[in-house]
């Protein structure tokens, strides 16, 4: 009986995961990537030389509101080079992959990992986060790697910094590292955040140069044909 349950668990987990996320995405309609499109618009604004933030918002929950820290921008810029639809689907694939890699990274037994995959497929918060194109699955990956590398300062510091660069709240992990005297992790995390902050400045110019180069190459090719 136990053997049967052990064999059935991965099958049930995959069924639950694929049907749960698949149904959420299939039923999404116009709300597919609702939150991601705010990130996409922010990246497009930045690439167009406009401010990162649209200051016209007065309340949360509306479409297009981007209120993440500027340090999240470098991670989003590549998506700004794609059309909204392509970027949304790419982001959804990245999100699901990030979650599954995160599950694989969890320092728990294989059967518990399968249980987490099974439960994720049933979990409304998970399938909803995927449908909206939220950052949750990416944060899950960062938190999972940090958990796995608790006693390896570089891994903990870097993943803590990635979390804090995306959203303010996960920065609490770096405070935790500080309070538990994981000094190296704190320094690595702080340096990584500084690099991310510096890239916000540089990437604006860099990404614009990439867009200009791609556009010039394409137009040259079109003229040649």
């Amino acid at each position: 009986m136990m053997q049967l349950a052990r064999t059935a668990l991965p099958v049930l987990a995959l069924l639950s995961f694929v049907s749960g996320t698949g149904a959420a995405v299939a039923a999404a309609g116009d709300t597919l990537g609702f939150d991601f499109l705010a990130y996409h618009q922010a990246a497009v604004r930045l690439l167009d030389g406009q401010p990162l933030y649209d200051m016209s918002f007065a309340a949360t929950g509306g479409f297009g509101l981007f209120y993440y820290p500027p340090t999240f921008a470098p991670m989003l810029l590549p998506f700004g080079l794609l059309s909204a639809a392509t970027a949304t689907w790419t982001w959804l694939v990245v999100s699901v992959a990030a979650f599954l890699v995160g599950v694989a990274a969890l320092p728990v037994s294989r059967s518990v990992r399968w249980w987490i995959v099974l439960l994720a497929g049933l979990s409304f918060p998970f399938v909803y986060a995927v449908k909206l194109g939220q950052v949750g699955p990416v944060l899950f990956l960062a938190f999972a790697i940090a958990w796995r590398t608790l006693d390896r300062p570089t891994g903990l510091g870097l993943t803590g910094a990635v979390g804090a660069a995306i959203k303010l709240q996960p920065g609490l992990v770096l405070v935790w590292a500080l309070l538990t005297r994981r000094w190296t992790a704190v320094v690595v995390g702080a340096v990584a955040l500084l690099v991310a902050a510096d890239r916000v400045r540089r990437d604006r110019e860099g990404a614009r140069a990439v867009v200009a180069a791609v556009t010039a190459t394409l137009s040259r090719l079109l003229h040649l044909s």
Binding site: G20, P51, L52, Y53, M55, F57, A59, T60, G61, L65, Y67, P69, P70, T71, L106, P107, V108, S109, V112, R113, W115, I116, L119, A120, L122, S123, F124, P125, F126, V127, Y128, A129, L132, Q134, G136, P137, F140, F143, A144, A146, W147, L150, Q169, P170, G171, L172, V173, V175, W176, L178, L179, T180, V186, A190, L193, L194, A197, D198, V200, R201
Partner: protein, 170 residues
């Protein structure tokens, strides 16, 4: 040290992006009255509690979360106190959307590993087949239950006594 680094980051990024960010946060922040917010205070407000009292509920919750965060660092295993931090990082936020609860799968994995199989109930009570049935108040409850359970299991794991009731009876 962190404040110093934050100041350095501000200089590197350039002031405008950060000031825009803070202005935007200030503009859009009415957390207690924000619709679909699942913090304890906001859910209390949705249940008819006056805004001032709901703000107090939120304050008490935040102070409690910080207390457990600090207690876990002192009393629980490193693994458990880290996972308490993960849950706390969401619970101290003035805005908690329902999808933030997906991060509870991390402490759930920890609790399952520690043999607490009841933890499967944490994602199951917020399962998508129950949408429309699960009341909003369930969200702050599952956040809090997971926070406290992770702390208690982590504290017991650090204690030479193996029985949870023995640890908490003392």
């Amino acid at each position: 040290a962190l404040l110093g680094l934050a100041a350095l980051a501000t200089i590197l990024v350039g002031p405008s992006a950060w000031t825009d960010f803070l202005t935007l946060l200030r503009t859009v922040s009415e957390p207690i009255t924000t619709e679909h917010n699942f913090t304890p205070g906001a859910v209390a407000y949705q249940l008819g509690v006056p805004a001032a009292t709901a703000s107090l509920v939120q304050l008490v919750s935040t102070v409690g979360v910080i207390g457990i965060f600090l207690a876990a660092i002192r009393l629980a295993t490193g693994e458990a106190s880290y996972l308490v931090t993960v849950v706390a990082s969401q619970l101290v936020s003035p805005i908690v959307w329902d999808h933030y609860a997906m991060l509870l799968l991390l402490p759930v994995a920890y609790l399952l590993s520690a043999g607490r199989w009841w933890a499967v109930a944490v994602p199951l009570v917020t399962a998508w087949p129950l949408v429309g049935v699960t009341p909003p108040v369930v969200y702050p409850i599952v956040f809090w239950v997971t926070l406290v359970a992770t702390f208690m299991v982590g504290r017991a794991a650090r204690d030479p006594r193996t029985n949870l009731s023995e640890v908490y009876a003392s």
